[in-house]
Assembly symmetry: C2
Homo-oligomer: 264 residues x 2
């Protein structure tokens, strides 16, 4: 998640998830962005859906099992449509009772009982109700980020939101780390931002906060035009260009994530 736009959230959700599936894990993708970019990226046309995440969140008769579609070997998705933008007002009556944050967790419980190793949730570029629903369900937070100045600015606000959900509805929530995207290691800017970031994370170590153990995950994902090409074919990088640097980086990242014994 990250409220900063265009930092690589969707690209990372799709390709890290696919890399984990390639390594043998069963993966469920959930698209919580009304742009429906993860849905497109995984080859599903949002305009032809009979049921989507919107129906699941707003219609008591529709469950996650009804919405789920298979998108590859060991990969399923709960796809989004653009009508998801209306969910914040649809759930307003639940919000008044303080129950709007937990709708996703309630509605996916039966599907998750079928056993997935990883659930990868793509969020919109905001800290609204959809992102909060994702945080209420998640056990770990990955923060895709570009090593740019503007991208660094929103980090503390993002972490505050994670802290609120952790203190409220989801005490086991932790920030696992930062995924550097579109990384250009040779630029001075990247070096400066990484130094700031390292200092920020170091300072959190002694604090009782959900990001005290957060690290910059390795390797960074290098800028690679094939990562921007593959969504137009509805493919992940592993189908589109399995030997390119982008595929290599996401495979390596998946290995370090799996190695950390992620909690799913």
């Amino acid at each position: 998640m990250n409220q900063k736009g265009g930092v690589g959230k969707t690209t990372t959700t799709a390709n890290l998830g696919a890399a984990l599936a390639e390594q043998g894990a069963r993966v469920l993708f959930i698209d919580l962005d009304p742009q429906a970019h993860l849905t497109l990226h995984m080859g599903v046309d949002p305009e032809t859906l009979e049921r989507s995440v919107y129906d699941m969140l707003t219609d008591p008769a529709v469950s996650a099992v009804d919405v789920a579609q298979q998108v590859g070997e060991r990969m399923s998705i709960l796809p989004a449509e653009t009508n998801l933008a209306g969910v914040e007002s649809e759930l307003a009556s639940l919000a008044a009772e303080g129950r709007a944050q937990g709708v996703l967790r309630e509605k996916t419980a039966a599907l998750l009982a079928q056993g997935f190793d990883y659930v990868m949730i793509d969020c919109p570029p905001s800290l609204g109700l959809l992102t909060v629903n994702a945080l209420a369900l998640a056990t770990e937070v990955f923060v895709p980020m570009q090593a740019h100045y503007l991208a660094l600015q929103g980090l503390s606000k993002l972490l505050q939101t994670v802290g609120l959900v952790q203190q409220g509805v989801n005490p086991s929530l932790r920030v696992t780390g930062i995924v550097l995207c579109m990384h250009e290691a040779q630029t001075i800017l990247a070096g400066e931002v990484l130094a700031d970031l390292a200092g920020f994370l170091e300072a959190a170590r002694p604090m009782e906060v959900p990001w005290r153990d957060a690290v910059v995950l390795q390797p960074p994902i290098r800028r690679n035009i094939k990562l921007a090409e593959c969504p137009s074919f509805g493919q992940t990088i592993f189908t589109y260009a399995p030997q390119c640097p982008g595929a290599h980086d996401y495979r390596q990242l998946a290995q370090s994530v799996a190695g950390m014994g992620a909690r799913g």
Copy 2:
């Protein structure tokens, strides 16, 4: 405006505005994004503001004149704070009466009467109430965009929102054009996306829609790391690196915008 994140909205608002001011125009910037990135980019610290756009939109006693600050020669700004994220619920009572769209227009009328040649509004990556307020005030829409597949997907939804506002509260609203950002002309992807885009705009010519005359504005803004460095100093590209390719591109863009006799 563009609900797709990270496409260059803030960078274009800041630098196109500054280029127009450099050429002699009086420019007012309005930051409608709770990330407050335009505010940061223009050298104002959002954490030290006594009054911001949030106060102006929610407190009848605060006018735009109270909030405006000078940020350079012929440049002023209405700055944002992160509390702006709460404005959608603050204005909910006005929304019930259908008046929430026009608050920005009402609150800025007295300030705009002082005479600005251009008003540059930076929007968040969503099509919510803040973006709609911008559309209700604006006369022209510029769409910053990256020539990537995912960025192209949201264009028709964005234009539909512009159409709704044009048919509703702002009949004179027009889409002037697309500003290509972080442009890498040599990639195949850029070529394909531009061909799609040209076809889309051509098809709109005979239609009674606010984007019938929209063009791809020239020149495209090339990818240039100095454009990503300058916000960390609170400077536009013209103060930070006035001779770099980024400065050149935004100066040229400003000349073509001024040449079109923009309506402000």
